[in-house]
C-alpha cells in the first residue's frame, strides 16, 4: 500500500525539558520559541521530506516527558516506525534515563524484536556554554554503541544545528531496518532458532 512507506511515525522521547518540542518545531517550521511551555500529553505534526528522490511524510509525535504524563503518552507508542531518544547535554540525569525511555517505548510499542527497531539518540542543547555541559559526546556514543549501535546526533534546536540531519538520519536508519525486516519476512515459514525471544513470551516462574 502506498501509505506504508510514505507515512512514517516518529516518536520523540526523553526527560521533561530536554527540548523535544523545540526539536520538532525547529524541524517542522524552522522556528524556536525560548518561552515554550511544557508539553501536556501527546501531540503530533506531519512533515514531508525527500530522501534519495523518494518523498516521505514524517508524523512526528511530541510527548510529555514528565513521569505524571506517562499514562497519556504510552498508548501512542504503538505503530511507531522510529523513536528519537533525546537527552539534554546539560542534564546528565536525562542521559541516564535513556535506558528507562527505551524500555518504556519497547514495552508499550509492543515491538517484538527490540534490537531491530530503529532508535536514534539525540543530545540536544549543544548550544549551551561548555561549562554547563554534563554529558560528553563520547559518553553518549558509548551508550549508543551498547544499545544496538543507534546513531547519535548532537543537536541544537535553538541554533538549528543538526536537526534536519538527525531526522533524515532517523528515516534512513528506519528504511535500512525495514529492508532487513523485509528480507527476514521472506522466510516467515521457517523457524529462526537464533532469534531473540521477546521478554513477554516466557514465564519467569
Amino acid at each position: 500500500m502506498a501509505g506504508k512507506t510514505q507515512l512514517l511515525k516518529v516518536v520523540i522521547l526523553g526527560d521533561g525539558g530536554v527540548g523535544k518540542s523545540s526539536l520538532m518545531n525547529r524541524f517542522i517550521s524552522n522556528k524556536f520559541d525560548s518561552q515554550s511551555f511544557h508539553t501536556i500529553g501527546v501531540e503530533f505534526l506531519n512533515k514531508d521530506i525527500v530522501i534519495d528522490g523518494h518523498s516521505y511524510t514524517l508524523q512526528i509525535w511530541d510527548t510529555a516527558g514528565q513521569e505524571r504524563f506517562k499514562s497519556l503518552r504510552t498508548p501512542f507508542y504503538r505503530g511507531s516506525d522510529c523513536c528519537l531518544l533525546t537527552f539534554g547535554v546539560d542534564d546528565v540525569q536525562s542521559f541516564h534515563n535513556l535506558n528507562m525511555w527505551k524500555k518504556e517505548f519497547l514495552y508499550y510499542a509492543d515491538v517484538k524484536d527490540g534490537d531491530s527497531f530503529p532508535f536514534v539518540v539525540l543530545g540536544n542543547k549543544v548550544d549551551v556554554p561548555p561549562e554547563e555541559r554534563q554529558v560528553t559526546a563520547d559518553e553518549a556514543k558509548l551508550w549508543c554503541e551498547a544499545n544496538g549501535r543507534s546513531p547519535y546526533y548532537e543537536t541544537s534546536a535553538k541554533d538549528a544545528i543538526n536537526v534536519d540531519e538527525a531526522f533524515t538520519a532517523a528515516v534512513k536508519l528506519l528504511l535500512k531496518m525495514e529492508e532487513r525486516v523485509e528480507m527476514r519476512s521472506g522466510y516467515t515459514d521457517t523457524v529462526n532458532l537464533h532469534k531473540n525471544r521477546s521478554r513477554k513470551d516466557h514465564c519467569q516462574c
Binding site: G3, L7, N46, K70, S71
Partner: protein, 1113 residues
C-alpha cells in the same frame, strides 16, 4: 414487486478530485469528508457550482472507514497501520475538525483518560483513540446520542459518548467510555446503531436487536472521583416507548452534575459511575525497571475481567455458535432468544452501578446466496430513524432497517420491536453499495446508480398521525418503484449528502502513474421538480393504468411529505404544504372515481387536501355529465356521505352544486337520493328537480322491484317535496298510498322529519300525518317514546296538550292509552294515569249532561278497551250487570242512538278520527237473539259499548291488580252521582278503600251479583272477605226471612242462592270448628249438614295428606 417509472434524473454533476487517492468518504449536510491514502481527510463543501476544499487534516494512520456524527460533531475513523508488516487497526475520533490545519499540531489522548490541559488550548484538533485490544472491522454511531459502536470479531463494543469536567474546573470535554460488550455470535462485518437498537451483519446473516434495560442494578463498585454526564445537545434527544431507561435519554448538563446518581427512573447512564481503578490504568503499569518483570495479560481470555454477564443460564448453555446456517432462516421478533444463536450483553468493569441489561431480537435472518460462500453477500447495513421534533426532546417514531444482498435489498420496519418486511428491492444488476436519503434509495450496481423510492416515511406516519384524525397513510408495504438509472462504472464508494450523491470512481485498469480516480457530486432532483415529474408521468397513466396512476400519486405524496417532515427545505415550506394538499386532492379525486375497497380513502385524502365539497363536485362535474362507464364514483359518494350526513358540517352549498350532488346520487346511488333529500345537510337544492328525480327513480324502481323500504323513504320524500311546493293534496295522496308500517318505519328512523325547524312543533309533514293518518302518528310517537327519541311531555306538546280542553283531544287520549297499555312503561303509569283518569272522568261528566255523546258506533264485533299487558285489565263480569249496562249482551247490542240518527257532531275541534263507513248493523256480527226483547226508555242512556267507551276504559283501568289507593281515592272524590256508571265506579273504588262499604252496596242493591262480586274481589282478599260477606248475607237472609210478607219470593231465593254460593266457597276455606262457630245456632240441620260434612271431609283429607307427607319425610 418493483415498478419502473422513469422520472428521476440527477440535476447536475460536478467532478472533482482529491490530491491523493480517495479511500473512503462520508457526508454531513452538504459537506463531504474524504479520506485519502496519504493519511489525511479532506473536507469539501459542495456548492451549486463547485466543490470547495475547506479543510484538510492529517490522520494518524490510513483511514479505511470514516463517519461523521452530528450529535458529537466528531469524525470517527477506522484506521489501519502496518508497521513492520504487522497490520494494526485503530478506532479514533477527531474533534475540533473545523478549526484544523495541517500546520497545527494534533493533540492525542486515549478515551476514558483524564485530560490535563486547559481550555485555553481546547480548540486545536484533537484525536481520541478508543482502547481496543482486538482488530476492528467496522464502526457506526448514533446520530442522536453520539454513542459509537465498534465491531470486533463476534463482539460489539459500545462506547458511550459523554462530556466530562475535571474536579472543580469548568472545562468540559468530550469523551467516550466503553460501556457494553455484546457478543452477537457471528463474525460481524458491518454494524449500525440507533439509540438502543443495534443491527449487525456477517457475510450472510443479519441480526437486529434492542437493548432492554432493567430497573434492577448489578453489584456496586468503588466510587470514582469523576462525575460523568451527558452532553447538553440543543437538538434534544430520542425518546423511546419504554420511557427513560435507554441510551436515548439525554438530560441537560446542569441536571446531571447536580444528580449524577439518581433513582432507576432516570437515564441508566446517570446511574453508572466510573470506577477510578480503571482511570489512567496506573495499576497496570509494570515496574519496567525490573528486568525480571513479566506481565501476564489475561484480559482477552479471562471472562471475569469483564462485567457481569447478564444472560439467562439457559442461553449460556446453548450449543456452540455456528457462523452461517446452511438453510435460509428468517425470524421476526420480538423474540428473547434465537435457538443456537445466543447473545450476551455485558457491562465493562468500570461502572460502579449498572442496571441489568439484556437484549430482544427483532430480526434474525440468514440468507442463502448463490456463488462463492466465502464472498460477502450482505452489505450496506443501515438503520434509518424518524424522529418527531418537539421542544423538549425528539421522539423516535419510526425505525427502518435496510440491508442489501447482491441482487436484492430488504427494508424492514423494526420500530417498537415489531418486525415487518416493508419492501424488497430487486436490482437490475449485482449491487455493490447502497446509500439512502430520507425519501430515496440509491443502489450502486455494476452498471450504475439505480434510484428507488423508500417507505420509511409511510412506516413512520402510522406513529406520527393521531389515529383520531383519521388521516390517510399510504401502506408502508406497498410496492416500491425504480424511478431512475444513471450509468456509472467502477464506483468504489458512495455517500448521500443533503442534495447530492457523492460517488468515488476509480478506473481499475488505468496506468497507476496517473490519477485514476474522480469524485462525482450528483445533484439530486429537487423534490418539487421530482414531484412535478412524477405527476406528469402519472397523468399519462391516469386513463390507461389506474394502478400506476395511483402509485405515482402516492409516491409523489410521500416524497413531498418526507421533504416537509425531515425539514430539508424549510424555505419552501409553504409551497411544499401546498403541494401536499394538491397531491391529496389528486389522490382524493382518484379514489373518488374508484369503486374498490380503497375508495373510502377519498374521505381522508379530501380532508387532507383542504378542498370543500363544492370544489370537489365541480371537479367531477364534467366527468359525471359524460357518465363514464368505467367510474362508479363510490369514493365520491362515500365522501359526500361523510360531509352531508355529519351534523357538524357547515358547508354552505349553493343551489347549483346541490343540484349536481343530487344528480350524482340519482345517477350512481339512486337508493340514497331520498335520504339525501330528507336527512342530509343539503338544503338549497331545487325542489322541482329533486321531485323529478324521485319520480323517475320510482318508475325505474318499480320496473326493478327493489326494496319496499327504499320506496317508502322515497314516498315520504316525495310527499315532503310536494308540501314544499304547496301541493298538499298531492302530498296527502302520496302519504295515503303508503301502508301504516311503511310510514311508521320511515318516521321512527327519521323522527326529526316530524318536527319543524325550531323543533318546537310538528313539521308540515307531521301536521299532514296528524290530520290524515293520526293513528300512524300515535304509533310513531309511541315508538319514539320507547326508543327515547321523543319523551311523553314532548309528544304531548306536539299533540297540543295546552290547546283546548284536554278531554276533547282524542290524539292525546289515544297516545296515553297506547302508552299505558304495555307493562314495560310501568314507570310512567302514574303520570299517564293521572291524565287519563282526568280525561275519562271529564268525558263521563260531559256525557252525563249529554247522554248521547260518546264514541262513534262501530259496525262489527269490536273492543273499545285496548288489550295488552298494560294497565287496562279485564273488567269484572259483574260490572256488565251494573248501570248503564244491562248484562253482557247489552254491550254488544246495536247502539240505539245510531239506530235513530246519523252520528251527531264532531265533538272535538281538533278533529276526531272517524270511520267514514256507514253505521250498518250486520246480523252475522251480532246474534239476532241479543236484540230481542230490549226495550228502550226515553232518555235512558244507551247500554251499548260504543256509547260507554270511556266508562269501559275507566272500569278497566280500575280493575288493574295494582291500582294505588291514592288513585281510587281521587276517582272516588271526582265521582258525581249523575255520572254514567256511577255505582260501578263507586263499587270499584270502595272495594279498594272500604270493603265493608262495598259489600253493603252490593248486598243491599245487587244481591244477584254477590257471588260474582265476591269471586272477583277474592283476587285481592282472603277468606275473611268471604266470611264477612257470609255473615252479612246471613243477617240479610234472617232479616228477609222475618219480613217475608214484604218481599217477593224471588228476592228471598236470590239471597238464598247467593248465600249458598258463598257458603260453598267458605266450607272450602275454613276448618270445621271455625265453620260451626260461624253458622247460626238456629239454622236448619238438614240445610247446613251437607256443608259441614264437606268441610269436615276436606279438613280430614288435608290432615291425611299432611300425615302422609310427614311419613314420607
Amino acid at each position: 414487486m418493483v415498478r419502473v417509472f422513469s422520472c428521476h434524473n440527477f440535476t447536475s454533476q460536478q467532478v472533482f478530485s482529491t490530491q491523493s487517492e480517495p479511500i473512503a468518504l462520508c457526508c454531513a449536510g452538504n459537506i463531504v469528508f474524504v479520506s485519502t491514502d496519504v493519511c489525511n481527510i479532506e473536507i469539501y463543501t459542495i456548492g451549486e457550482k463547485n466543490c470547495q476544499l475547506t479543510h484538510r487534516f492529517n490522520t494518524i494512520a490510513l483511514v479505511q472507514q470514516l463517519l461523521y456524527n452530528e450529535q458529537g460533531n466528531y469524525i470517527a475513523t477506522l484506521e489501519l497501520k502496518t508497521t513492520r508488516h504487522q497490520p494494526v487497526t485503530f478506532v479514533r475520533v477527531y474533534f475540533n475538525w473545523q478549526t484544523c490545519t495541517t500546520q497545527q499540531p494534533t493533540r492525542a489522548r486515549v478515551a476514558g483518560q483524564s485530560v490535563r490541559w486547559s481550555e485555553t488550548t481546547a480548540n486545536i484538533l484533537e484525536v481520541v483513540e478508543l482502547p481496543l485490544k482486538e482488530s476492528s472491522k467496522h464502526i457506526a454511531s448514533c446520530n442522536k446520542t453520539g454513542n459509537l459502536i465498534v465491531a470486533m470479531g463476534t463482539t460489539l463494543n459500545l462506547f458511550y459518548h459523554c462530556s466530562k469536567t475535571l474536579g472543580s474546573s469548568s472545562f468540559v470535554y468530550s469523551d467516550f467510555e466503553q460501556a457494553l460488550v455484546i457478543n452477537i455470535g457471528f463474525n460481524i462485518l458491518e454494524v449500525a446503531v440507533c439509540g438502543d437498537y443495534i443491527a449487525s451483519i456477517s457475510k450472510s446473516t443479519i441480526r437486529v436487536i434492542k437493548l432492554v434495560w432493567s430497573k434492577q442494578h448489578g453489584p456496586e463498585r468503588k466510587r470514582s472521583s469523576y462525575q460523568v454526564f451527558q452532553r447538553d445537545h440543543s437538538t434534544g434527544s430520542v425518546d423511546t416507548y419504554e420511557g427513560d431507561n435507554s441510551f436515548d435519554s439525554n438530560p441537560p448538563i446542569d441536571e446531571d452534575t447536580e444528580t449524577p446518581n439518581r433513582s432507576a427512573a432516570v437515564s441508566p447512564w446517570q446511574q453508572v459511575v466510573f470506577n477510578d481503578l480503571y482511570v489512567g490504568e496506573e495499576y497496570e503499569v509494570p515496574p519496567v525497571d525490573d528486568d525480571d518483570y513479566v506481565l501476564w495479560d489475561f484480559s482477552t481470555t479471562l471472562h471475569s475481567k469483564m462485567g457481569d454477564v447478564i444472560s439467562p443460564a439457559c442461553v449460556l448453555q446453548e450449543a456452540s455458535l455456528t457462523d452461517e446456517k446452511d438453510e435460509p432462516v428468517e425470524i421476526t421478533g420480538p423474540v428473547e432468544t434465537v435457538a443456537g444463536q445466543p447473545i450476551t450483553v455485558e457491562w465493562t468493569r468500570k461502572y460502579k452501578t449498572r442496571p441489568l441489561i439484556s437484549s430482544t431480537t427483532i430480526l434474525y435472518k440468514c440468507c442463502k446466496f448463490p456463488g462463492d460462500a466465502t464472498e460477502q453477500y450482505l452489505h450496506s447495513l443501515k438503520l434509518l430513524p424518524t424522529y418527531q421534533k418537539s421542544s423538549r426532546r425528539d421522539r423516535l417514531v419510526g425505525l427502518s432497517c435496510f440491508v442489501s444482498g447482491f441482487h436484492e435489498g430488504f427494508m424492514y420496519d423494526v420500530y417498537n420491536c415489531d418486525c415487518t418486511l416493508l419492501s424488497t428491492y430487486n436490482y437490475t444488476a449485482k449491487s455493490k453499495l447502497v446509500t439512502t436519503t430520507d425519501s430515496l434509495l440509491h443502489a450502486v450496481t455494476h452498471n450504475g446508480v439505480e434510484t428507488y423510492t423508500i417507505r420509511k416515511m409511510a412506516a413512520a406516519l402510522v406513529q406520527i398521525n393521531e389515529p383520531s384524525q383519521n388521516l390517510a397513510i399510504p401502506p408502508a408495504t406497498a410496492d416500491i418503484c425504480l424511478i431512475g438509472f444513471r450509468q456509472f462504472f467502477d464506483i468504489t464508494a458512495v455517500s448521500a449528502a443533503d442534495n447530492f450523491i457523492i460517488l468515488v470512481s476509480k478506473a481499475m485498469d488505468s496506468p497507476s502513474a496517473t490519477k485514476n480516480w474522480s469524485i462525482y457530486a450528483l445533484e439530486m432532483q429537487d423534490p418539487i421538480a421530482l414531484y412535478q415529474d412524477m405527476l406528469q408521468l402519472a397523468a399519462r397513466y391516469q386513463v390507461s393504468n389506474s394502478l400506476a396512476y395511483q402509485q405515482l400519486l402516492t409516491e409523489a405524496y410521500l416524497l413531498i411529505k418526507s421533504s416537509v417532515y425531515y425539514e430539508k427545505h424549510q424555505t419552501d415550506s409553504d409551497k411544499l404544504q401546498e403541494l401536499i394538499k394538491n397531491c391529496c386532492a389528486l389522490l382524493g379525486h382518484h379514489y373518488a372515481r374508484d369503486s374498490g375497497k380503497e375508495c373510502v380513502l377519498s374521505i381522508p385524502y379530501y380532508k387532507m387536501s383542504g378542498l370543500c365539497l363544492p370544489d370537489i363536485v365541480s371537479n367531477h362535474k364534467q366527468d359525471i355529465k359524460i357518465k363514464e362507464s368505467c367510474s362508479r364514483y363510490s369514493g365520491l359518494l362515500h365522501y359526500m356521505d361523510s360531509v352531508l350526513f355529519t351534523p357538524t358540517s357547515d358547508d354552505n352549498i349553493n343551489e347549483e352544486t346541490s343540484d349536481i350532488i343530487l344528480e350524482i346520487y340519482n345517477t350512481y346511488k339512486p337508493t340514497k337520493l331520498s335520504e339525501v333529500i330528507l336527512v342530509s345537510n343539503l338544503r338549497q337544492y331545487s325542489d322541482e328537480k329533486a321531485l323529478l328525480m324521485l319520480q323517475s327513480n320510482s318508475t325505474h324502481r318499480d320496473e326493478k322491484r327493489t326494496l319496499e323500504k327504499c320506496h317508502s323513504l322515497d314516498c315520504v320524500a316525495t310527499s315532503i317535496l310536494y308540501l314544499r311546493m304547496c301541493e298538499p293534496e298531492a302530498a296527502c295522496s302520496v302519504l295515503m298510498s303508503m301502508t301504516k308500517d311503511a310510514i311508521t318505519d320511515v318516521f321512527v328512523q327519521h323522527h326529526h322529519l316530524l318536527l319543524d325547524d325550531n323543533k318546537a312543533g310538528l313539521s308540515h309533514i307531521g301536521q299532514l300525518l296528524r290530520r290524515h293518518r293520526a293513528d300512524v302518528l300515535i304509533e310513531i310517537l309511541i315508538h319514539l317514546h320507547d326508543n327515547n327519541s321523543i319523551d311523553m311531555d314532548r309528544a304531548l306538546d306536539l299533540l297540543d296538550i295546552n290547546v283546548g280542553e284536554l278531554h276533547h283531544n282524542t290524539h292525546i287520549r289515544n297516545y296515553l292509552e297506547a302508552l299505558i297499555s304495555a307493562n314495560e312503561r310501568e314507570s310512567i303509569y302514574p303520570k299517564v294515569l293521572e291524565l287519563l283518569l282526568r280525561i275519562y272522568l271529564d268525558r263521563l261528566n260531559e256525557q252525563s249532561e249529554d247522554p248521547f255523546a260518546g264514541s262513534p258506533a262501530k259496525t262489527h264485533p269490536h273492543s273499545h278497551v285496548l288489550r295488552g299487558d298494560g294497565h287496562f285489565a279485564t273488567r269484572y263480569i259483574w260490572l256488565d250487570e251494573l248501570p248503564p249496562f244491562k248484562g253482557s249482551r247489552s254491550l254488544g247490542q246495536q247502539c240505539e242512538h245510531a239506530k235513530s240518527q246519523s252520528f251527531p257532531r264532531a265533538s272535538s275541534p281538533l278533529g276526531y278520527s272517524r270511520s267514514t263507513s256507514p253505521h250498518s248493523f250486520t246480523r252475522t256480527s251480532l246474534p239476532q237473539s241479543i236484540t230481542h226483547g230490549v226495550t228502550r226508555i226515553a232518555n235512558e242512556p244507551c247500554p251499548c259499548c260504543c256509547c260507554n267507551e270511556d266508562l269501559l276504559k275507566l272500569q278497566s283501568l280500575l280493575c288493574w291488580k295494582s291500582v294505588a289507593q291514592e288513585t281510587t281515592q281521587k276517582v272516588l272524590s271526582s265521582l258525581v252521582k249523575t255520572m254514567k256508571g256511577f255505582i260501578s265506579l263507586e263499587l270499584l273504588c270502595q272495594s279498594r278503600l272500604n270493603i265493608t262499604a262495598a259489600n253493603e252496596i252490593i248486598v243491599e242493591n245487587y244481591p244477584h251479583l254477590i257471588l260474582d262480586y265476591a269471586n272477583s274481589m277474592a283476587l285481592w282478599e282472603s277468606a275473611n272477605h268471604y266470611v264477612a260477606l257470609l255473615q252479612m248475607l246471613l243477617a240479610k237472609v234472617n232479616t228477609e226471612g222475618s219480613s217475608m210478607a214484604y218481599n217477593t219470593e224471588d228476592t228471598n231465593s236470590v239471597y238464598m242462592d247467593q248465600f249458598e254460593g258463598v257458603l260453598s266457597v267458605v266450607v272450602e276455606l275454613l276448618d270445621p270448628v271455625s265453620l260451626l262457630t260461624l253458622l247460626p245456632s238456629s239454622g236448619s240441620c238438614s240445610f247446613f249438614l251437607p256443608y259441614i260434612e264437606r268441610c269436615y271431609k276436606k279438613y280430614k283429607a288435608e290432615q291425611l295428606k299432611e300425615e302422609i307427607i310427614q311419613l314420607v319425610k
